[in-house]
């Protein structure tokens, strides 16, 4: 990814403001932990994105993660995805799209009381595997599903 000078200045300024807010006690330490993982979102393949986000890239395939996504998405700009994790102690759910320029799409950090369920809509540049990584009890679990994208097609 190209980081041009302007956005670099902006991001460093944002970090500065963040630091001030922390020292002023406006933000709790938990919020600081949740600072946006820039390197993970800039990674160009699934493995390095997972490694950058979680510190390791090894995941265990789990049948307890249910993925709901269309087999064929007619419009790649809006692909609805629903993830249900039945793994006890699910801490976060991440979505990655392997053929996108930057695969990491979103990480949902689930707090106290939250259930292993998220639903959103994503953009897909072309037919791709959707990879979901669930962090539970310090371990990484994953599930995969292929979504075919037909842009401007007749809808298969």
């Amino acid at each position: 990814m190209n980081t041009n000078r302007r956005s670099f200045i902006k991001s460093s300024a944002a970090v500065g403001a963040f630091g001030v807010a922390v020292s002023a006690g406006l933000i709790t330490p938990r919020a600081v932990m949740a600072a946006w993982p820039k390197a993970a979102f800039a990674a160009t393949d699934v493995d390095s994105a997972v490694k950058s986000a979680f510190g390791e890239s090894a995941t265990t395939t789990s049948a307890d993660i249910k993925l709901k996504a269309p087999e064929i998405a007619e419009n790649g700009a809006v692909v609805p995805i629903t993830v249900t994790s039945n793994i006890a102690g699910t801490e976060s759910i991440s979505m990655l799209i392997s053929n996108n320029p930057t695969p990491l799409t979103a990480t949902f950090n689930l707090g106290k009381g939250a259930e292993g369920f998220v639903s959103t809509r994503v953009k897909m540049s072309k037919t791709s595997d959707l990879v979901v990584v669930v962090k539970a009890n310090g371990k990484l679990y994953s599930a995969k599903k292929e979504v075919k994208v037909t842009i401007g097609g007749c809808g298969g």
Partner: protein, 104 residues
């Protein structure tokens, strides 16, 4: 700024289902302006936070691949009808918005 977040939360059998729509361009930085050939600068939501009684039930880190005008839904337990739910977002330009909604 006009309110950009629409949020609905409803308790059913002890579980609160939260559904939200945020109006935002979610520009990836890869799309080209056909007239000038220049790329539209990236402009996307990076963080979404949702809290209930001061407890962050969900914080999301988003990349550029979330669709325009994002939709988001999740579930949590421990809330009751009439409680207040707070949701906010921050984008890569430092813009932000927040909204409070009553849980039904």
């Amino acid at each position: 700024m006009a309110k950009s977040i629409k949020v609905r939360a409803k308790v059913k059998g002890g579980t609160t289902v939260v559904k939200a729509l945020i109006s935002h361009a979610m520009e990836t930085g890869l799309r080209k302006n056909k007239k000038t050939g220049k790329k539209f600068p990236a402009h996307f939501i990076q963080e979404v936070t949702c809290s209930h009684n001061g407890n962050d039930v969900m914080t999301a880190d988003w990349g550029t691949a979330i669709s325009k005008n994002p939709y988001l839904s999740f579930k949590f337990s421990g809330a009751k009808s009439g409680d207040t739910l707070k949701m906010s977002w921050v984008d890569n330009k430092g813009e932000s918005d927040s909204v409070e909604a009553k849980i039904k």
